[in-house]
Symmetry: C2
Subunit: 110 residues, 2 copies
């Protein structure tokens, strides 16, 4: 169970989720944004493997369990209003399910 | 009005919002995460000033209009599933309303 002292600082959305930004720890690339409930954050903090809640599939999702493209977690920080965590990770292979390094490579708006 | 070709690619939450990650363009620091509706994204793309939707105040919010800590937008990219934009910005002064450089400086969980 997530440390109650951490849980008390989270500001969850109506679905009980906070946003999670994954950033490559050494290059600074923003790799992807996904979602976590308390249990996903607990697993991420205790296992060092980035674990998210899949809103589309309705299940926990250990990044890389299917693709092999794992994220080793170097650090986790909560933002000032408690609705987002920043994970610094070491991303193995592409972060995006489309095969690009990050999820932001394909669609530049400006 | 937001370009319909962009609007068609957005996957908004039930409140009509997408997440927006602001990253310092040269250092790679993740500064903050906020929220945008179509109009906020339109204003950001067309003015080059990061403009968000404040969920707590229920109004548009041009970053820095009150604090002077503006964000000049260098680029905007949409992620693979259309629910998050990544802004590369030049942040003037602290990004966080608490006075720290980023919103992730104060509460390290791991």
């Amino acid at each position: 169970m997530l440390d109650p002292a951490i849980a008390a600082r989270l500001k969850r959305d109506p679905n009980g989720l906070v946003a999670a930004v994954a950033q490559q720890y050494d290059t600074g690339e923003v790799l992807m944004v996904a979602w976590m409930d308390d249990e996903a954050l607990h697993r991420t903090l205790t296992t060092g493997r980035a674990t998210y809640w899949s809103r589309s599939r309705g299940e926990y999702w250990v990044k890389g369990d299917t693709s092999g493209h794992t994220q080793d977690v170097k650090s986790v920080a909560l933002d000032c209003d408690g609705d987002t965590v920043l994970l610094k990770v070491d991303q193995h292979g592409p972060a995006c399910h489309t095969g690009t390094r990050t999820c932001f490579d394909a669609d530049v708006l400006r």
